[in-house]
């Protein structure tokens, strides 16, 4: 009887010990971890409270989010105005009322090809300017710019198209200004690639001769508001009186003594700003 009771007690002990090893000990570890985490959270609360003060109320957070939303709207509005409604450089190939053309890449390609086809004729006004010197890839009548990609690498093609877009839209604005000023004699037209800390930038250098008033008008037209080119940035502007012995043929074409100008213009990048709203700020 006593031995039977001992055996039963031993069995109960083994069961309890096994239960302790399999369940109670992990529970003890979990309990210890919970206590440690609790202490850590409390310490974290204290540290954050000491560092940042009391957390804001729900009303304050809502107000802050409202202000952030207002700033976001103002930023979007300013960007729309600054970039004339364009979200990417190729948008300038389309009229403003069709921007942004999210689904119109093919249409933009078509517009680019048409522009590249039209530019050589426009460039005749600038002595020495040719599509090849300006880095323009004039498409053939049977094929577009994209099909000329020899390796078929889409990424490289995209970069080529973007480069053509940047060059052609930049030229459009200068050509429009040159045509708008009747007494402007174009002399020089070239693109420059300038490397800086912010990346590679495309600069347009244009030179010519015109009476002083027309030179200023040309200058203002090139830099002024336009919906067909990215916002411009003045790099330098030089205006110098042309000595009489250098007037040449300009003396017959210009109504008043000419000045020689040299304008270097950069273009603001379009579409390189992060568009996603940060966490906590609704769009």
């Amino acid at each position: 009887m006593r031995f039977a009771a001992l055996v039963l007690a031993l069995a109960a002990f083994v069961f309890a010990f096994q239960d302790f090893v399999q369940r109670t000990r992990p529970l003890l570890g979990r309990d210890r971890a919970a206590r440690d985490e609790l202490a850590r959270v409390v310490e974290d609360h204290l540290a954050r409270g000491e560092k940042r003060g009391a957390p804001p109320s729900a009303q304050e957070v809502a107000h802050a989010r409202e202000l952030a939303r207002a700033w976001r709207q103002e930023r979007v509005e300013d960007e729309r105005n600054f970039f004339a409604g364009a979200a990417r450089a190729s948008d300038y190939l389309l009229p403003p009322h069709r921007r942004p053309a999210v689904d119109g890449l093919a249409e933009q390609r078509t517009a680019l090809e048409q522009l590249l086809l039209a530019l050589p004729a426009e460039l005749k006004a600038f002595a020495g300017a040719s599509p090849e010197r300006l880095g323009l890839e004039v498409p053939s009548l049977s094929g577009g710019v994209i099909q000329d990609d020899p390796a078929g690498l889409h990424g490289i093609d995209e970069r080529r198209v973007a480069d053509q877009v940047a060059r052609s839209t930049a030229l459009v604005r200068v050509l429009a200004a040159a045509h708008a000023v009747p007494n402007f004699v174009a002399r020089d037209l070239a693109f420059e690639r300038v490397r800086s800390s912010s990346g590679e930038r495309l600069l347009l250098k244009v030179g010519g001769e015109a009476p002083l008033a027309d030179a200023v008008q040309f200058y203002e037209l090139v830099l002024g508001d336009a919906a067909d080119a990215p916002p411009r940035r003045l790099e330098s502007f030089t205006l110098r009186r042309v000595p009489a012995n250098e007037w040449g043929s300009a003396a017959r074409r210009l109504p008043s003594p000419p000045v020689r100008i040299e304008l270097r213009v950069g273009f603001e990048p379009v579409g390189d700003e992060p568009r996603a709203a940060p966490k906590g700020v609704p769009k």
């Binding site: 302790f20 529970l27 309990d31 804001p56 205006l239």
Partner: protein
């Protein structure tokens, strides 16, 4: 609660008398009684032997057969006092610390010099008027071993061995703690124990004379008084001899009470004859002070159980042993065998295992509850302080700051472009009045970080004195610029070539 019970077994006196007693708090309950006579009917005396009497082994085997299960409890057996010595060592000093060595010396004196042949038990020191004193009991080791081997050979477990009269005195002190001198007279079948109990000490003597010659009460003759008177006279005679030997001839202490126990207590005639001869009240126990009998027993059985003084004293000594290391005179002369100790330790071990198992299971329940409470507390603490709101607030602030910076950047660019764009026209306009007399020859406009810079060259024909200064003042007043430096040169034609470095004001032109 663990049940504590013990057996008290007396083999002497012509019968095996055993009681099974349970301890219940401060009281004791007799749960079983065994009486198994083995002496020859009519035999009223026994031979003093160092071995078990004849027939005793059969009676013991009967006990074993009927009560094998309960014999797992401690079994204390009465040691015959034949050949034993007992007495009281008196020491003429009052310091207990110095008494030990003197006590050992006195024991050597009392036991003939060589203590190795004796199993000695000494009672605790007690104060007397003239010093200290301690009772002692000594039995020869060969007699002790012979008796123990006989009992164990039969199969009866022996966990404790106490002299029968000492056990009887233990029972008497427990039941009748009265002051004065009391005589406990246990009349068995073939022997009688005379135990004189005072509050200070115990004296005893045994004689091989019992009541075995008497017929059973139901078989007694019509006028048996003569037989009782004769037995009572012999008992009283033995009492006087014992008293004289134990107390001295000059001792005049009166007996306060005589307790009649054993087989002789069944005969009221014997009690009456003894009372008449002793001139003292002779009582037979019917109701115990600390001992009672299981309710199933009849009153006769209950009374009979209380008359078994030696077995009851053995059981009381087993259930209430001396505390600590202090051996008393009723302490056992032997220790229980290891297997018996182990067997008795099983319930404690079982209980300990069950307690541990229960504790482990309870621990899991407690820990699970604690984990649940801690995790709830953790969730509550995490939710109590809305750092998420603070993060949202920080994010909103960072986004608004970035947007504001971008807006300012765009506005700055637009404004700068407008200023740059309008500067040449503004400059020409300022030169238009005829009194200025200066003609723009060269212009270099370079955008700067905070403001635009320009290098201007003017040609002034027939310049009056101070023309350069006037030109500078005029331009600052009308062209929206500040002259940083100016330099004038005369040309061959007499004109003045003015070279100016200017800073273009960013005034107006905000989008």
């Amino acid at each position: 609660m663990l049940r504590r019970a013990a057996w008290g077994v007396d083999l002497t006196g012509g019968a095996v008398q055993a009681v099974h007693v349970e301890r219940r708090g401060g009281r004791f309950r007799v749960v079983d009684v065994v009486e198994q006579p083995y002496s020859t009917p009519g035999d009223a005396s026994e031979t003093l032997l160092s071995h078990l009497p004849a027939g005793c082994d059969r009676a013991l085997q009967e006990l074993l057969r009927r009560h094998a299960a309960s014999l797992a409890d401690p079994v204390f057996v009465a040691l015959p006092a034949f050949g034993a010595r007992h007495g009281f060592v008196e020491l003429q000093l009052s310091d207990p610390a110095k008494a030990e060595a003197l006590l050992d010396f006195e024991l050597h004196q009392a036991l003939g010099g060589d203590l190795s042949q004796w199993a000695v038990r000494v009672g605790s020191l007690r104060r007397r008027a003239d010093g200290l004193g301690a009772p002692f009991f000594a039995q020869r080791r060969d007699l002790l071993a012979s008796f123990l081997n006989d009992v164990r050979r039969v199969g009866v477990p022996v966990d404790g061995l106490i002299p029968g009269p000492v056990a009887l005195a233990r029972y008497a002190r427990s039941e009748w703690p009265d002051p004065g001198l009391q005589l406990v007279l246990e009349v068995k079948r073939t022997r009688t124990d005379y135990v004189y109990v005072t509050p200070e000490r115990t004296r005893f003597r045994s004689s091989p004379l019992g009541c075995g010659g008497l017929k059973e009460p139901e078989f007694l003759p019509r006028s048996p008084q003569r037989e009782f008177d004769e037995l009572a006279g012999r008992l009283v005679h033995e009492h006087h001899a014992a008293r004289k030997a134990l107390f001295g001839a000059k001792d005049g202490t009166a007996l306060s009470r005589v307790h009649l126990l054993g087989d002789g207590a069944r005969h009221p005639e014997l009690r009456a004859a003894l009372a008449e001869l002793l001139h003292t009240e002779v009582v037979v126990p019917h109701l115990g002070r600390t001992v009672d009998v299981a309710p199933a027993r009849t009153p006769a059985h209950a009374s009979r159980a209380l008359e078994l003084g030696t077995p009851l004293g053995l059981a009381l000594a087993a259930l209430d042993p001396p505390r600590g290391d202090a051996w008393d005179e009723d302490a056992s002369l032997v220790k229980p065998p290891a297997d018996r100790r182990l067997l008795r330790a099983l319930p404690a071990l079982t209980t300990a295992l069950l307690i541990v198992a229960f504790g482990l299971l309870t621990l899991r329940w407690l820990v699970a509850r604690d984990v649940e409470r801690d995790e709830k507390e953790l969730a509550r603490v995490r939710a109590a302080v809305a750092w998420g709101a603070a993060d949202d607030w920080e994010d909103a602030r960072a986004a608004a700051t970035a947007d504001a910076q971008r807006v300012a950047d765009l506005e700055g660019k637009a404004a700068a472009l407008r200023i740059q764009m309008s500067f040449p026209g503004r400059l020409l306009e300022s030169l238009r009045p005829p009194d200025v007399g200066a003609r723009l020859v060269s212009l270099l406009l370079t955008p700067g970080e905070g403001q635009d810079e320009a290098e201007l060259e003017f040609e002034i024909e027939k310049p009056p004195s101070g023309a350069l200064e006037r030109l500078c003042a005029h331009l600052e007043a009308n062209a929206g610029l500040s002259v940083v430096s100016s330099e004038g040169q005369r040309t061959e034609s007499g004109a003045l070539l003015a070279k100016l470095k200017v800073a273009v004001h960013r005034v107006g032109g905000a989008p």
